[in-house]
Amino acid sequence: MVETPERDQIGAQALAWLEQNWDPEFTVREWWARLAESGWGFPTWPREWFGRGLPAESAAAVREAFTKVGALGPPASLGQLLGGPTLLTHASDEQRARFLPALARGEEFWCQFFSEPSSGSDLASLRTRAVRRDDGWVVNGQKVWTSGAQFADRGMLAARTDPDVPKHRGITYFIIDLDQPGVEVRPLHQMSGAHGFNEVFFTDAWVADDRIVGELGGGWAVATTTLMFERFMTSLPSASPGRHSAHLDLRAGDVADGKVKLEREGSPYASASKVILDVASRLGKTADPVTRGRLAALLLLERTNAYSGMRQADAVRAGRRPGAEGSARKITRSNLARTARDVGMDTLGAYGMLAGEDTPGGGAVQDIALSSPGASIAGGTDEIQRNIIGERVLGLPKEPRIDRDVPFRDLTVGTAETEKPDKP
């Protein structure tokens, strides 16, 4: 980790390419097409699939280059962040050829149809059914907390194809189109009031046979891959891909400069300590020893988290498959979100009782505070990450499980009094 010539070299290459090619006058669509061709948008994807075949460790250096040049980042819906890598791991070449180009060029937005009202942490208990008809599948059920479904062209769908086997074995992973009569997206609002996620209802929705990723009944392994990528997920601020968000024809430079305000989930601030330091300066609190100590503690957490990212990437380069360590980082990010929330709000003091742009920092600290609970829930809760660390990193004995070997039909799932067990 101390030696970084390779990382520097890749960073320098990315920088050189970006300096030569970035032009704020491009439309978002044009810029992304050019990025896709160059491989710098998705440097860790293979060369034959819009990438440069670089190790994960290089991604941070490439991101830095984007920031330095001020270039608009690559498209980053869950399709690009999770779908692409999942397809590269599990899909057939035909499927890659079919889906990766539009993802790489940002022409499509994908969402993730995993969680259901009854099945969040216990994703494998999901009830959405896919039943075979002719050369495809008919899907019925409900997904929930689906981020970005209002913009999505397709979704990564985990559905139950066999309720008679234990729950992990009867799941299949599909790529389903949203633009069809059987798919209804209803908005859900998060606690800040923003519309980030949705409920999605499938009523006799159709998905063809060739949309199965991995094996029939082998969807759990594919979903696990997606979830693993989710724990590592980082992205640059960017426009939103796909035609529904209507960003493709904007001037790329305007989006890169932040002239176009984009709705993003989670905390939109790369460095909370910077935002809070700015507020502390405005309020004349930078000399206050309590504020100083707490800001320093926040900065410390931010930095160690960044170092962990580098170290993890180095481990990957050294040939170790990333796995449960992602859980440790995800918990660190939750801690970071909570610390930023508390330090930020106390720094704001009385102004923290107010909302909106007229407060010091323009409402950024309040945004951080109101998005913080999401960090420890989305993508697998902190408790689930701790279980993974305990069992898979530390090798502690597993908790006795009562749900592994029983046919899915015989399990109790969901919320007892509000939902009757109407299992498929």
């Binding site: 969040g120 942490s121 208990s125 609002h189 009782m353 909302a355 279980n387 009562i402 919320t415």
Partner: protein, 371 residues
């Protein structure tokens, strides 16, 4: 000292709980939080006429019912549990306490009966744009004009300042800090509602431009009145926080019993069970602090300044911790607008900051015990 409630006090609690359940279900709280006024005048009248809540802790000679601070704490606990939107804290706690703490018999006789009857909504304006909660932060000036005192300057974060009929203002005179009474609709007073993080609690900015004011108490008495009022208000706020903390603990425990994942209720996972247990430990400590502090107010104990800051610091953190854990225990549904968990999260955060955050009160505590 008596830290156990009488049957009468328990009856008051039950009455309040039923009243809040009836008048402030989630749907009402959400309706009122969207409105600028932030409360329902009809419910406010019922609070006064049917239950006598506004008059509860005001002595009989000023039109009150003559109960003590312990009863007031019980009421606030239940209101905090339900998030009942009303100017009760502003009027029955801040304004009434400031008047009761001052030496001005005439002002008490004039102003308290209206507060007790609920026909006057009072509030206290002391914080300014610098956001400080202590007396040194106060700069708004009072001067003698032709016909009497006149105020010029700005007050911020004034609880229910946009609907108050009577604003008690702490201002600076040659003699130091003094308390003044201003009518809500006075000429030269501009009241601007502020968008709040906790929409169930309304704050306003008040700009004074030559506003005529009545001196309450002696010129220079304002510092003592403010100190006494803020200690009592801190205990009152702690009581409200206790009620909220208990309510989110109840929500968590209830959900942990009915939500199944991995074939088991999530409450059977130690990760969740221990969270709930930790919340209970903190809520019970908060309860002890609040009841002890309420007793100290009721008995006019010399310990009050110490226990006031202690209770405020402890209950603020216990409540916020519980409110955040409540969301975590609910998972994704707890992060939604539609679920009530965020209303408590926001109330807990804003009342953690209101009247001074926990670092401030811990420092006060240290100073007051002589560290």
């Amino acid at each position: 000292m008596e830290l156990v409630f009488t049957e009468e006090q328990e009856e008051l609690r039950r009455t309040l709980r039923d009243f809040c359940a009836d008048k402030a279900p989630s749907s009402e709280v959400r309706r009122l939080m969207e409105a600028t006024e932030g409360y329902d005048p009809a419910v406010w009248s019922q609070m006064a006429d049917q239950l006598g809540l506004q008059s509860l802790a005001i002595p009989e000679q000023y039109g009150g019912a003559g109960f003590g601070f312990v009863e007031l704490a019980i009421v606030l606990e239940e209101m905090g549990a339900a998030l009942l939107p009303s100017p009760y804290f502003a009027s029955a706690v801040l304004a009434a306490t400031a008047l009761l703490t001052c030496s001005d018999e005439a002002a008490k006789k004039d102003l308290l009966p209206g507060i007790a009857a609920g026909t006057t909504i009072g509030t206290l304006a002391f914080t300014e744009e610098n956001g400080r909660w202590d007396a040194d932060g106060i700069g708004l000036a009072a001067r003698r004009g032709d016909g009497g005192w006149v105020l010029d300057g700005t007050k911020m974060f004034v609880l229910d300042g946009h609907v108050a009929d009577l604003v008690l203002v702490v201002a600076r005179t040659a003699a130091g800090l003094s308390l003044f009474a201003v009518e809500g609709g006075a000429a030269g007073l501009t009241r601007t509602p502020l968008p709040t993080l906790d929409q169930t609690r309304k704050l306003a900015r008040l700009d004074f431009a030559g506003v005529p004011a009545r001196l309450v108490g002696a010129d220079g008495e304002g510092g003592a009145i403010l100190a006494g009022t803020l200690d009592r208000a801190a205990v009152a706020l702690a009581a409200e926080q206790l009620g909220g903390a208990q309510r989110v603990l109840d929500m968590s425990v209830e959900y942990a019993k009915v939500r199944y994942q991995f074939g088991r209720p999530i409450g059977s996972f130690q990760a969740i069970k221990h969270k709930c247990a930790d919340m209970l430990v903190e809520v019970e400590s908060a309860r002890s602090a609040v009841y002890y502090a309420a007793w100290a107010v009721a008995e006019d104990s010399s310990e009050l300044p110490v226990v006031a800051s202690l209770a405020k610091a402890y209950c603020s953190d216990a409540y916020f911790h519980a409110a955040a854990e409540n969301i975590q225990i609910h998972g994704g549904i707890g992060f939604t607008w539609e679920h009530d968990a965020h209303l408590y999260f926001k109330r807990a955060k804003s009342s953690q900051l209101f009247l001074g955050d926990s670092s401030y009160h811990r420092e006060q505590l240290a100073q007051r015990v002589g560290i």
